[in-house]
């Protein structure tokens, strides 16, 4: 096999191992600086692998293909990993020891994600998912002297393991009904399958496999873990969780639906299922967040809602929807990272995560206030920021399949309602920034002294600033790439 196919993953893994090794000879106080090297390495590796990437799908012999979809997501993952590493670095003094292990683990998770991006067989899917998940078990409980971190870790581990067990059983059933693990062979086999009795088994398998992916995506009814884990995990990990592992679930789902089960794409029940879940997820996320005061939990709920939007794009089961999903994710990164970065800095300074810590932020640090506001606006999907374009094309995709599926109004309606509801809590964050009362129940005036954020955090903030505005005003390039990546993905329509 030619290693250039997996050069990216190999590179990433090597970076991870290298960090582990270099760590041994690095004095403790300078360990945090390794982050810059990791970032540099990631950029270099990505550029190299991208330069050697030859258009057209790579071989699927090893259950791995490097088509444009994979490349898009690998780029996405690398970018988010870079941002997360930077965030980790500005978060370093929370992590007393093992900062470099943290970098390494992020790299390994990244490797898993980029394998997932190209996963082309159930075995690959399973292994990649497990690599990601198990890494995240460790990452989530990384601050092991914080009880909440451990609690989050345990919860995530048990629920995650349960869901992956379910997924494995589903894989077993698919394998049993088609006798293959490779997506294309499965597709061929299902085409051949004529009697629907076996088909039933196959459907069961697909459903259970999807359940495992829904868990990663945090879609109702597999969303319950999200708020606790998001709250307990270290903020960089939370960020990675909500942009990385969610996206891995999405790409796997797209691949599974698009490549492994062509016959199901015409099934009504699949659309109904996705539609129902999309509506439920959006409403659940928006409603639960209404009274939420813990910022990380709030963003957890909001990420549930956005998972609902992703499903809204997937309901269409066509290229348009997939393209919308891809762009939505691209826009989503900057919003989430920006928000979490500011929250990380501010909550670290005031040892609290209540929304009231944002009071006076406009005065304490205009940059952070601006970025947080813009991120929130973008998450809420208001012009002129990236999030709006994302929501726009998602709605476009959904509405465009309006006449194809009669269920659509029942998704779009709740979606719109959910958006309006979500505005309430998004705007209460903005309110807190600009005229918040602080801890009014303690009658203590909010802090006013200027708040300085670390260099690396500033880099992230500026990146997000440009990303949000740039994608909002000039979405064309990403839209084009996303369109290319999802071209002729689905057989149906």
């Amino acid at each position: 096999m030619d290693l250039s196919l997996v050069s990216l993953e190999i590179g990433i893994t090597l970076i991870g191992v290298a960090v582990l090794l270099v760590d041994l000879w690095t004095p403790t106080e300078r360990k945090a600086q390794l982050g810059w090297w990791v970032v540099g390495g990631l950029v270099a590796v990505f550029c190299y692998s991208f330069s050697t990437f030859n258009q057209g799908p790579g071989t699927g012999a090893l259950g791995y293909t490097k088509d444009s979809l994979a490349v898009f997501f690998q780029g996405y993952f690398v970018l988010s990993a870079i941002l997360v590493v930077l965030l980790t670095q500005s978060y370093a003094n929370r992590i007393r020891s093992g900062i470099s292990e943290l970098y390494a683990l992020i790299c390994f998770a990244l490797a898993g994600m980029s394998f997932a991006a190209g996963a082309n067989s159930l075995a690959m899917l399973f292994v990649a998912v497990e690599l990601i998940t198990i890494t995240f078990y460790v990452l989530t409980s990384f601050e092991r002297n914080r009880f909440r971190s451990l609690e989050a870790g345990v919860k995530y581990l048990i629920l995650g393991a349960a869901s992956s067990a379910i997924m494995v059983f589903g894989i077993a059933l698919i394998y049993g009904s088609t006798g293959a693990l490779d997506f294309h062979e499965i597709a061929r086999a299902t085409m051949a399958l004529n009697d629907d009795s076996i088909m039933l088994l196959y459907q069961l398998g697909v459903l259970m496999t999807l359940a495992g992916l829904f868990f990663k995506l945090a879609a109702v009814p597999f969303q319950v873990w999200v708020p606790d884990v998001y709250q307990g995990a270290p903020t960089p990990v939370t960020t990675f969780l909500s942009i990385g592992s969610k996206a891995a679930g999405i790409v796997l789902m797209i691949r599974l639906l698009a490549e492994a089960c062509p016959p199901l794409q015409h099934e009504v029940w699949l659309r109904q299922l996705l539609a129902l879940m999309a509506a439920a997820t959006i409403l659940y996320g928006s409603l639960c967040a209404l009274r939420q005061r813990n910022l990380k939990r709030l963003l957890g709920y909001s990420s549930i809602a956005s998972a609902g939007f992703v499903l809204l794009g997937l309901v269409t089961l066509n290229d348009l929807g997939a393209q919308a999903v891809l762009f939505y994710l691209a826009a989503y990164v900057f919003g989430v990272v920006g928000a979490f970065t500011v929250i990380a800095v501010v909550s670290e300074e005031s040892a609290d995560e209540d929304i009231s810590i944002l009071a006076n932020l406009h005065q304490r640090s205009p940059l952070m206030a601006t970025v947080l506001t813009l991120s929130i606006i973008s998450l809420a999907g208001i012009p002129p920021l990236a999030g709006f374009i994302g929501k726009f094309i998602l709605l476009r995709a959904a509405i465009s399949s309006l006449e194809v599926h009669p269920i659509m109004p029942w998704v779009i309606g709740p979606a719109l309602i959910g958006v309006v509801i979500s505005f309430y809590y998004y705007f209460s964050v903005i309110r807190e920034i600009f005229w918040g009362k602080g801890r009014f129940w303690k009658e203590e005036a909010p802090a006013t002294e200027p708040l300085d954020c670390p260099r690396s955090a500033e880099v992230i903030l500026l990146t997000c600033l440009f990303g949000l505005i740039g994608l909002g005003l000039f979405p064309e390039p990403i839209l084009y790439i996303a369109g290319e990546a999802t071209n002729f993905l689905f057989f149906a329509n």
Binding site: F147, L150, A165, V168, G176
Partner: protein, 101 residues
């Protein structure tokens, strides 16, 4: 009657459900892990059965991976339990409710 694929599958399904039951009703984290192990093993059984009756080894390869992953999972999980126990002398899930709503 001869033992067919279906019998094995039924066994695996029941085992799977037992594991799930363990996760749901037992509050001792360690036992919950055992439940998870049972679930994975059930899947293994199904895979092996299928691969046997289908004459192809992909299933067994899968099982190989699953076993490894399960081991890793357990290792991490138990380490986590150790850390947790250091912090709060418990391994009962009902004590892990500091974050809610």
């Amino acid at each position: 009657m001869t033992i067919g694929l279906e019998h094995y599958l039924i066994v695996s399904v029941v085992l799977f459900c037992l594991g799930l039951l363990g996760v749901i009703i037992r509050r001792n984290l360690i036992v919950m892990y055992m439940g998870l192990e049972l679930m994975l093993n059930a899947a293994n059984l199904a895979l092996v059965a299928f691969s046997h009756f289908r004459d192809n080894l992909d299933g067994q390869v899968m099982v190989f991976f699953i076993i490894t992953v399960a081991a890793a999972e357990v290792a991490v999980g138990l380490a986590l339990i150790v850390a947790l126990y250091r912090k709060r002398q418990t391994n009962d899930v009902t004590d892990l409710t500091s974050m809610k709503l």
